[in-house]
């Protein structure tokens, strides 16, 4: 039995999916674009012919692009058959520059060396004595538990006006203060690190030097009779230049002219 007849008949039912092009097209499937560098039929004067040509040409190119897209490896999902796109060939500019690495803070550096991993801490802590959850800090926080106990033993060597509660509170506040100091220091260092190539110490040193020099100008003697600091930088000031006494008449005249000009404004 000859099947070619049947095949031909079947084929005739449908329009073809193949397109002939003189030059191969440049596909960029990652961006779903195609570029056809073949010569386009030149008949741009008649509007109707132009529209027809544009439609026909676009259809042909789109057919080839769709053929390519249907040849991609597929994945079936709930939304339908998805063709996985390859990486784009043409490079499209970014919106913003590539993010820069942030300098590590003092703690982050330390944690890296020690291999300390960040882990999440819940805000609420279980209080064993009462059997309910309490915040770690803040109002009725667990960090105030000890000082708010109804009975606190006083150490034997304590003075008569020693307030244990106050003492505990002060100690807690000191701890908080210490931490905030460290935090601000870390932030300053990080800021300095971004300002001058990560060398924060040198940056701060230079800054301090500048401030000292500046502070010297606040006295009438420009810091000449001030108490010297240890390791104070020597300040070099520009020497005053005095004009020579013997100069030509021409020069003298020019200078006088310039003074006159300054005054009269002519």
């Amino acid at each position: 039995m000859d099947v070619s007849e049947v095949l031909k008949k079947n084929e005739a039912k449908y329009k073809p999916v193949t397109v002939e092009k003189a030059l191969p097209l440049n596909f960029d499937l990652g961006l779903m674009t195609v570029y056809d560098c073949n010569l386009f039929e030149k008949d741009f004067n008649k509007k109707k012919v132009l529209e027809k040509n544009l439609l026909k040409n676009t259809r042909d190119i789109t057919q080839l692009l769709v053929n390519q897209l249907f040849g991609l490896p597929t994945e079936t999902t709930d939304e339908g058959v998805m063709g996985t796109l390859p990486k784009p060939i043409e490079s499209i500019p970014r919106e913003k520059p590539v993010p820069k690495d942030k300098p590590l803070t003092r703690w982050e550096k330390f944690a890296k060396v020690k291999g300390i991993q960040k882990r999440k801490k819940t805000r609420m802590v279980y209080d064993e004595s009462t059997g309910d959850l309490k915040p770690t800090w803040g109002y009725k926080g667990m960090n105030k538990k000890e000082e708010s106990e109804w009975l606190i033993p006083i150490p034997a060597n304590a003075g008569p006006d020693h307030d244990v509660r106050k003492d505990m509170e002060n100690k807690r506040k000191e701890r908080v203060e210490k931490n905030t100091k460290r935090r601000t220091r870390n932030m300053e260092e990080a800021a300095a690190g971004t300002a001058v190539g990560k060398n924060s110490k040198a940056f701060r040193k230079a800054q301090l030097k500048q401030t000292i020099i500046l502070s010297k100008t606040s006295t009438a003697s420009l810091g000449k009779f001030d108490k010297k600091l240890e390791g104070e930088p020597k300040i070099k000031r520009a020497k005053r230049k005095t004009e020579s006494v013997t100069r030509s008449a021409l020069e003298e005249r020019e200078i006088n002219k310039s003074i006159l000009k300054k005054i009269t404004g002519i």
Partner: protein, 306 residues
């Protein structure tokens, strides 16, 4: 430029973090700006561009006194404020009737832009036929040899791709290919028909056509593509343009080191998805190989041999 803001609340901090430079970037938003004076053509064109680009658009529909070729700070400001890096401005004046500017920003600074004269405009409304759903990724078709012959047009092609491509995607629904944007370039040259290249971009004409595709049965796996007019249709001629400097181009196309795939040595994959590895074994010492233990091969101490 907007001053750098220090967030006061956690919410504003999150909002600012969304705008920071990232390794994998947010999809580019487009500013659709109405100029100080617009014709009906330009108004309808902006409306159509808006509907093509939805939902990644910010529409500035009030009159804006913006002339990016004279003063680029205004559009840079708006781009920074709205976190948008693509823009299109439509305007109409006696000197430049039916004017459309398409451009993009990089790092809140102007990157490149092209100014066009719009003619033969047909809007989506005017063309009867099916329309595609919003937010769909279009197929983009470029035709005409001039896109490679003229380096400025290659850059324009890149801008068009960037402008119309929509959101970046790793996968695409094959049955959902609904929209085709076709841009054909032709050199208009009344005197000399053999001319293939000019520096003057105003000699080129771009035919922007947007069609709705339907994928028909073809008796095979591949579908037969048929197109229907959807709109907008318009022709463009370049008026003025400004391309990006090489330095800016280099900066903007840098690939972050996180996205570089390290080449793994000696591991390959075949067509069936099998992982193949090549293992290197040093030269074998044949003397020390453990073979079958036969008494005759055993080394005997010398004094036992007689």
């Amino acid at each position: 430029m907007l001053p750098t803001i220090k967030p006061k609340t956690a919410r504003s901090k999150r909002a600012l973090e969304k705008r920071e430079p990232k390794v994998i970037e947010n999809p580019k938003k487009t500013l659709v700006v109405r100029g100080s004076q617009t014709s009906l053509v330009i108004q309808n064109l902006l409306k159509d561009l808006l509907s093509i680009k939805k939902p990644l658009v910010v529409n500035l529909s009030k009159r804006n006194e913006i002339h990016p070729f004279d003063d680029e700070t205004k559009i840079e400001f708006l781009g920074t404020k709205n976190d948008a890096s693509l823009f299109t401005i439509g305007s109409h004046s006696k000197k430049r009737p039916n004017n459309l500017v398409i451009g993009r920003l990089f790092d809140h600074k102007l990157f490149d832009m092209f100014e066009f004269e719009v003619s033969n405009f047909l809007s989506i409304e005017q063309i009867k036929g099916p329309t595609c759903s919003a937010g769909i990724k279009p197929l983009i078709v470029f035709a005409g040899e001039h896109f490679t012959l003229n380096p400025a047009l290659t850059k324009l092609k890149n801008l068009f791709t960037d402008f119309f491509q929509g959101e970046k995607a790793d996968a695409v629904c094959l049955t959902g290919l609904e929209h085709v944007i076709s841009i054909t370039v032709e050199l208009i040259d009344p005197k000399n028909t053999t001319l293939t290249f000019t520096e003057d971009l105003s000699n080129y004409k771009f035919y922007f056509r947007s069609y709705h595709t339907s994928l028909l049965k073809s008796g095979q796996k591949l579908p037969r593509v048929e197109l229907e007019n959807m709109g907008p249709f318009f022709d463009l001629v370049v008026r003025r343009y400004k391309t990006a400097s090489d330095e800016a181009w280099k900066l903007s196309t840098r690939i972050p080191k996180e996205l570089f795939i390290k080449k793994t040595k000696n591991i390959s994959h075949d067509e069936f998805g099998n992982k193949l590895g090549r293992v290197h074994v040093g030269t074998q010492d044949i003397q020390k190989i453990q073979t079958r233990k036969v008494k005759a091969l055993k080394k005997k101490p010398l004094h036992t041999i007689e």
